[in-house]
Amino acid sequence: MLDATRTPPRLPSAPGVGYKSQHFHDLRAAPGPVTWLEVHAENYMGDGGRPHAQLRALRDDFAISVHGVGLSIGGEGPLDKAHLERLKSLITWLEPASFSEHLAWSTHGAEFLDDLLPLPYTEATLTRVASHIDQVQDVLGRQMLLENPSSYLAFADSTMSETAFLSELVRRTGCGLLLDVNNVFISATNLNDTPEGYLDAYPTHAVGEIHVGGHDADTDDAGAPLLIDSHGRATADPVWALLDHALAATGPAPVLVEWDNDVPDWATLRAEAERAAHALATAAAP
């Protein structure tokens, strides 16, 4: 269990964006409502050069969230200790306001599969993931946030819901949660659930950050809707509506716009951040 007294300051309850190096100059010249940035940890695990120089410049003006995509917290094998040490060094020099990772697996044996792969929600998975989160929080000496996945399928052997699984992880490890409402919308659509029902069962008290982002629409072999988490377009209207629903439950929270593929110019991404600012202002209004 994490010693909460060592938890560093939280991200501001304001809009942030996923940082892309091509926005370095435009973002600093005209940040609009953006006061914090999220970076993918693994892109900054080189030894120096431009990636490190940009982070050193940006952290003067923006709070930074480090978002890992390579730790494989749901993996059946042990965590990669070398990778955990790399995360620790990055976090030690960068001193970010937040560190988050995913409820997923991506490493198998010696292989890294570069995708966020799904988990059955069973007691065995719960025990393993909780022990991995304990290990991460011990090594990093801080609380981590865990993000809910976007699901395309379910496991016949799951014995509990995703929200029950996350609630129990929070209780056992003291971790916080990164609530991705785009993923909630995708998973609920793909698995015949309602996104509002998911949020009503979700442990909103533990939320330290919210994500919105774009998805693509497809259909499965039975002709049922199949949404794909692409991060390649603007956030869809029903996801913005779900953000309002989430903010009503969580209260003010850091809200991040993710756009990782077909990345638009800064003005387009900033317009998305302005939409998030509007949602935050509306939620805060009496």
Partner: protein, 252 residues
């Protein structure tokens, strides 16, 4: 029987393997297309990572051919680390043994160059040796000196016109490659790695010096290849491009 991650992984990278049991859609029915989303995600992610790593290979081979090559490469050499910034280290060796492209003999060296450019981009920052200090040394001190290159500086040996091939592929209006051996020196003044064409004698000098030889001893080896080798031309290139980390002069 529960679906384990070994089963899942086997089916992910090999579409001839059956979809694992125990995976269902929202109605609790078995599903193939939904598993295909993960298959597609993994292949696309790894292929895109290779396109980012090897833009010159993509230009030389064309996008469709590169995609086919990438599909075979990712199955033979999936990443072994979450550091995707270093993915593709096996590409030169993979290309050397890849029969359908064996007639393009310089492809492995192009892959080596692209990997080295990426390593240079992410290499550690160091304070470079200040070339003005050279003027305070006597000639006999200089030839007795040793040096180390900056972490972002590296040499790619080759018998192909590698610099010309790189320039012809990346710059519009660049002249066609000539039939000469062009080893490459990569340097990084601030943040952007830059390739420079070397003569074989210059590459030999750098190879000896980075192996620990004195500048003078390395010069003898270089002049055995090319009597016209000029030490100060090469030292100037290194100094102007912040490529020397340490320059050690013996104490008289």
């Amino acid at each position: 029987m529960p679906t384990d991650q070994t089963q899942f992984r086997t089916a992910l990278l090999d579409p001839t393997q059956p979809v694992p049991d125990g995976l269902t859609d929202g109605a609790g029915q078995p599903t193939t297309k939904r598993f295909a989303v993960y298959r597609n995600n993994v292949t696309v992610a790894l292929t895109e990572a290779l396109k980012t790593a090897f833009p010159v290979l993509v230009s030389l081979l064309g996008r469709q051919n590169f995609d086919q090559l990438a599909r075979l490469f990712v199955r033979a050499h999936p990443p072994t680390s979450p550091l995707m910034i270093h993915y593709g280290a096996h590409m030169p060796a993979f290309l050397s043994g890849f029969a359908p492209l064996s007639h393009i003999k310089y492809l492995s060296d192009v892959a080596r160059l692209e990997l080295a450019l990426r390593q240079s981009y992410h290499a550690a920052d160091v304070t470079p040796f200040d070339g003005r200090k050279l003027g305070t040394f006597e000639a006999h001190q200089i030839v007795a000196s040793t040096l180390t290159l900056a972490p972002a500086a590296t040499v790619i040996p080759t018998v192909w016109p590698l610099f010309d091939i790189w320039r012809y592929t990346t710059q519009s209006g660049a002249p066609k490659p000539r039939a000469i051996a062009q080893p490459i020196l990569i340097t990084r003044v601030e943040f952007d790695p830059e390739p420079h064409a070397l003569t074989p004698a210059q590459a030999a000098w750098l190879s000896h010096v980075t192996g620990g030889a004195t500048l003078g001893a390395a010069q003898d080896s270089a002049m055995a290849i090319d009597p016209g080798f000029d030490l100060f031309t090469l030292l100037t290139l290194l100094i102007q491009n912040n490529a020397i980390a340490n320059f050690t002069t013996p104490k008289d």
